[in-house]
């Protein structure tokens, strides 16, 4: 593996635009969790003209619903969920200023177009490495929608959270680049 790139939050557009598909990164700072139910609630609120309880400008969203923390732990197991389920809501959320997304799996062309427009980077964490990923999380604090339980919007304080750039702000796709050399059908 190549040298890992350290990035800190907030993630500014200029920095995001420098990242390239295939780059390995270590994220330090605050990332904000939101998944299916929170995306639905937030986009519905925006459609009604309401202000969101969280300022997403220059933030990194993490598609996550963790297990409950054991006593004494900051968080339970906390790997990425499938990003594609958020695709219908994503262009609306990127309009709110999000500059990074962490999840796993492919995205729609509409999402990629919105990423190019706003200079957004899509990162993948290793799906199913949830106990390992928890080691890089120091704090979990619910910011909004506590009634959604594991789907609440929460701030995660992370140190050297490992991820890889899978779609960069120019639309280059590392999933496709990574699979092509090994496709032998």
């Amino acid at each position: 593996m190549a040298e890992k790139i350290r990035i800190t939050t907030p993630l500014m557009e200029e920095q995001s635009r420098k990242l390239k598909a295939g780059d390995s990164v270590l994220i330090t700072g605050t990332i904000i969790s939101a998944r299916d139910a929170a995306h639905k609630v937030m986009t519905e609120a925006l459609a009604r003209g309401e202000k969101l309880p969280v300022d997403w400008n220059n933030q990194i969203v993490y598609y996550l619903g963790p297990t409950p923390a054991k006593p004494g732990d900051p968080i339970g197991s906390c790997g990425p969920t499938t990003s594609g389920r958020m695709d219908a809501y994503t262009p609306t959320m990127l309009d709110q200023g999000i500059k990074g997304m962490v999840g796993k799996g492919s995205r729609t062309p509409e999402v990629v177009e919105s990423m190019k427009k706003h200079g957004v980077t899509y990162f993948a964490a290793v799906g199913g490495a949830a106990a390992l990923i928890a080691k890089s999380v120091q704090k979990y604090e619910v910011l909004a929608y506590p009634e959604l339980g594991p789907e609440a919007v929460a701030a995660l304080t992370v140190v050297d959270f490992p991820a890889i750039v899978v779609i960069d702000s120019e639309g280059n796709n590392f999933y496709e680049m990574g699979q092509a050399p090994y496709r032998r059908l």
Partner: protein, 280 residues
Amino acid sequence: MRTIQVKKITEEVAQMCKEAAYYLPGDVYDALKKGRETEESPVGRDVLDQIIKNAEIAKAEDRPICQDTGMAIIFVEVGQDLHIEGGSLEDAINAGVAKGYTEGYLRKSVVEEPLFNRKNTQNNTPAIIYTKIVDGDKIKIQLAPKGFGSENKSDIKMLVPADGVEGVKKAVLDIILHASCNPCPPMVVGVGIGGTMDRAAVLSKRALIRPTNVRNAHPDYAKLELELLDLINKTGIGPQLGGTTSALAVNIEWGATHIAGLPVAVTICCHAMRHSERVL
């Protein structure tokens, strides 16, 4: 007639939920290690290293392997000479699931109604329970918690007899190619062939309970399992970011079907192929 108290069943199911969430079965761990040895992609090897390390941390620290601790899928075989006392079997199993998911700090991922309200039941019940009455006076309980990243990529094709073996291969491969990097590969692929639409789907689930290193007892199906595995490992999907370890195993279960039919169901499981079993 032998008697078992429902309380015993509840306690065992609770324990099984925790075990399954924390401890990756040895055969799956070995398959990941073997995949790490043969994986051609450097990025793929790095991903496999993280997956293997994750399983080791989860086991050593009693933590869920994955945050999606799944819906509890439970196959029960009840001996017809066994008397279950103190309540209903289904209630006992669901009480065990609620207890296990709560005590074990597992995620509650079940909503009571799928379309309009989607309210979380807060205790991961109800479980999906398949009950079969068999000979004897024992009860066998097999639990396979199923995450939905992979479940969402599962599918079924209603083939016709003329499609034959090649048609089955194409159907399975199409489902896998469509799933691609999304279901947290390397996958374990359960295939149900025959029966009706619903029966094939259940067979594909049941297939996942068989250890990854045990092939179908029928030589033709055993051969097909290996051929499908080889095909899937040539897709390039690899361990999420491309490579040669796309699947750890293909397990097929088959059943009698109609003269006009050849249903093929594929349940995709992620690399965290979790299960736990008891005979009481």
